[in-house]
Amino acid sequence: MAAVATCGAGAGGTESMAAATSKSNVTSFQRRGPRARGTDSGGPRLVSIAGTRPSVRNGQLLVSTGLPALDQLLGGGLAVGTVLLVEEDKYSIYSPLLFKYFLAEGIINGHTLLVASAKEDPADILQELPAPLLDDSCKKEFDEDVCNKKPESDIKMKIAWRYQLSPKMEVGPVTSSRFGHYYDVSKRIPRELIETSKWHGFFLPEKMSSADKVECCSLTPGYMKLLHFIQNIIYEEGFDGSNPQKKQRNILRIGIQSLGLPLWGDDVCCSENCDSSHSLSKFLYILRGLLRTSLSACIITMPTHLIQNKAIIARVTNLSDTVVALESFVGSERETNPLYKDYHGLIHIRQIPRLNNLICDESDVKDLAFKLKRKLFTIEKISDALKWWSRRS
């Protein structure tokens, strides 16, 4: 009480002082200044951006890729400021799905989108995004799925009991729906959601006029224009903190479709010793620099099966942060292999970044396969030998 008295004699009583003297059963130490609002009390106000969460390993800010199964494989999600490179499958059937999941997740969370493509109009891409699954309807979907799978997966393994304790792949919906949502691929996203969201489109044939054929610093003009576009958006909308905004900070989700196609003006797919062999590497380097200094995350799909020079693929992998490759069974001899009967292709996690860390959160499982069901895209471990045996005996 002596301390209270000396404070009162000094600079005049604050409201907390009055509160302290009036309440007899509470501690005399009260916080000065405005009352804390909600649960985010504390000196510096914790700004939490919608759709993000800190990683449990190192506190890195993560966003969801749109596929909770993929989030789990990448160690919780995609870190803000990094690039997710998806190596396309041969006929480009499944990689557009990952692209669309990423963008749809951005719309649901209210993030700003930037869609760049040389093949399709970004407005058309946005029209085809999958619709989000609401909680009760998606619970119904998973329940019927689980019922169908029950009898087989319930083999009690007595001798190999250790395998029962291994963590299962998360197939069902997570209880907290603020990070990672489920989508119904057979339905389109409602138009109102697209109209209320903020997005910027970059369609290369519109941006390139045939007049400017300036080749500067060995970067293809198409790439140069895209980098300028991204830089402008980041600067103007304040994703790099340049314009201190009064309103809530937000994430910019960038999606670049089929980078490296000849439609971008890059001949890395056309010949082995191409003139602009460093163009793609430079683009990725500059893009990563832009991303690291801003609150954005980027997904790039690249048709690496068309790139002739394998060294370029290695360079591109090293310059990206997270690399995921899709290999579909369409047209290959694996289509008839009974081991892969239930699946549509394999998914390889080629690289996971070490951000502010010495180790990375690599998953133990290397044999992962994906399957496009009527409404969902699922990623599962191939539980090969055990299932095969159980069916034969």
């Binding site: 557009p96 044939p205 068309l306 002739q308």
Partner: protein, 315 residues
């Protein structure tokens, strides 16, 4: 060819050509020295012309007379021919050739004001690829097949089909792969002795590609006659997975247990499973302990000194 066969053949070939032309976009015809594709291209052009469409041809490899040879007069009247064979570099400067070279001619074909589906045939894409960078050719082809509709016309009316002839052997895997990824339909011509075949791959966007093989022969008036496959079917590859070796033979353990054996097995407690009986046995060491002793014979090197060895240290 009997009349009934001919009629059935006619129906089928028109169906096949319809399906080839219906998808729109770029139809890539890959031919080689042994199986030339120009006659197939002309058959497609004839079909498109007979169904009332406008056909524009960019001719680079053969002269106009040679190209028009074999077509009926009504087909010929519907063809609009841009001749690049006679004067590819426009040295005669007659002012007929459009500016911008061959790609400029292609781009000019893009811009037209009258509605209706149009077919553009390029003979050949190889000629263009050898003279222009591959990326530019790809960009122009993409612009041709996916152009934004002119204001005032509904998108359904504007359907552009580009038929491109590509001589595979002239190019490496790069340009061929790049063009194949751009194409909606890819036709590879081949065959065995006497019969031509077309292996067709339809690529609808975001759907699995459909593969189809069709045997045909091109008649002198450039109509197609569909054939059955060759008499001698080549032996199908033995499926390596249909009859695997049964691994249950010559095993050293028993895979099939009788009912009694199964019950006995289920009754066992496994060594690493911690059940309540085990817990009790560990917690209450009872009757069994009295019978167990440990006997030890000290040998010559054992030091049985009971003093604390740390006393020797001067710390």
């Amino acid at each position: 060819v009997t009349p009934s066969e001919g009629a059935a053949g006619c129906g089928r070939w028109s169906e096949m050509l319809e399906s080839l032309l219906a998808l729109g976009g770029l139809v890539l015809l890959r031919d080689s020295v042994e199986w030339e594709g120009r006659s197939f291209l002309k058959a497609l052009i004839r079909k498109a012309a007979l169904s009332g469409e406008q056909v524009r041809i960019l001719g680079c490899e053969v002269s106009e007379e040679e190209f028009r040879e074999g077509f009926d007069s009504d087909v010929n009247s519907r063809l609009v021919y841009h001749d690049l064979f006679r004067d590819p570099l426009n040295w005669s400067k007659t002012g007929e050739a459009p500016p911008g070279g061959p790609l400029g001619a292609l781009r000019a074909m893009c811009k037209r004001t009258d509605p209706g589906p149009v077919t553009i045939a390029i003979d050949s894409l190889s000629w263009l690829l050898l003279r222009q960078p591959c990326t530019t050719v790809c960009q122009v082809l993409h612009a041709l097949s996916h152009r934004t509709p002119c204001p005032g016309h509904s998108p359904a009316v504007e359907q552009v089909r580009v038929l491109g002839l590509l001589h595979e052997e002239l190019h490496g895997p790069g340009p061929v792969g790049a063009l194949s990824s751009l194409a909606q339909t890819k036709v590879t011509l081949g065959g065995t002795a006497g019969l031509d075949s077309a292996h067709i791959v339809f690529r609808r966007p975001r759907q699995r590609p459909i593969h189809q093989t069709q045997w045909f022969s091109v008649l002198p008036d450039f109509s197609l006659d569909l054939q059955e496959g060759p008499r001698l079917e080549c032996q199908p590859h033995p499926d390596p997975y249909t009859s695997p070796v049964d691994p249950t033979t010559h095993l050293t353990f028993n895979l099939r247990l009788s009912k009694k054996e199964k019950e006995a097995r289920d009754g066992l407690t496994l060594p690493f499973q911690f059940s309540s009986e085990k817990q009790q046995a560990l917690l209450c060491p009872g009757q069994g302990q009295a019978a167990s002793h440990i006997f030890y014979e000290p040998d010559a090197y054992d030091d049985l000194d009971q003093e604390d060895p740390d006393d020797d240290l001067d710390v």
